[in-house]
Symmetry: C2
Amino acid sequence: MGASKTSTSQPVRRRRADVVARAIDVLDEHGLADWSMRRLAADLGVQPSALYHHFAGKDELLAAMADELLERGRRPVEIVTWESELRLVCVELRDAMRSHRDAAELIAGVHARGEGAQEPVRRMAAALARAGADDDLARVGAGLVLHFAFAHVGDDDADFALGLEIVLDGLTARLVR
Amino acid sequence: MGASKTSTSQPVRRRRADVVARAIDVLDEHGLADWSMRRLAADLGVQPSALYHHFAGKDELLAAMADELLERGRRPVEIVTWESELRLVCVELRDAMRSHRDAAELIAGVHARGEGAQEPVRRMAAALARAGADDDLARVGAGLVLHFAFAHVGDDDADFALGLEIVLDGLTARLVR
DNA sequence: GGCATAGGTGAACACTGTTCAGGTTAGGGT
DNA sequence: ACCCTAACCTGAACAGTGTTCACCTATGCC
């Protein structure tokens, strides 16, 4: 961005965003298993304790990283059918999880702890609800597709597509009745 | 040391199975997050280093715990159809994952690391192959059902059953064509 | 009875996340 | 221009973690 510093707008202590960006760099360089608060702090040239002014703890920082990766993966596409929406969310998720080293473990782990990465499942549940699914079907179906995406990031494109079609078939059978 | 017998150390010999059983007790009492080699060792009245005569490391021990829990969950039931086999494996998995505190995280984590808990997915893939699925469908289908079971342990019985039926519907559509 | 070895000791290494009292710096309001 | 507040950071410490090492010992087998 070519924006110059404007004194009219908020100074925007964007330290937090810097930390997240750096945290993702550290993830790329060392992997999730070797990612640590201390290593990130060292990489930032800062004491570990400084990180606790931006994040309550490691889990919150990891959640912010996951959300950032999901946000970067968003693509503005016009949605037509509920199936295309589900497919799009899956593709976005898949791309996000493959965009950086260990991003799949990161995102799945954060979601398992219920600390973030909640938006994809909300979007899918909403799409299913719009398609006429009742609450149970929307909730279960969205969770089904989400966890399918989590579990099959490592699969090749053909396997991933096949698995997704199986799930969508099962959902269709319950929606268009 | 010299003349008197050391009062602080009394070697108690254990076997591998004893250690695993105790490890599961510790899991029940403290949860997975607070489970540690040192805590288990203390619970056994043994030095942490003694555990490394039975297991190469923490991961191997956790894998042994997961396998033990899955083994305990096995039930000898006669199988008729591929669907009933898949359902049975799911129920066994679900029961195993609910049988002890944090058993779901344990089993899913161990499986994610590819260190054990590989039998359920093999059984399901074999059932699908017997039903006429090609290699791709058997592999993808088994993984689909397995990860569904992993991801939805926390759901109530109705949600779990609904999700399973959706997946089975999707599979049926591709098998009986 | 001797011996191999499975099992155990206790200390140490190199880490981890987190907390805390206290210092430094930058911006906005008066 | 000043002060004040809040954000930001320091450095040390706490309470753990998994793992390794050299050395010792009890048990079962020939």
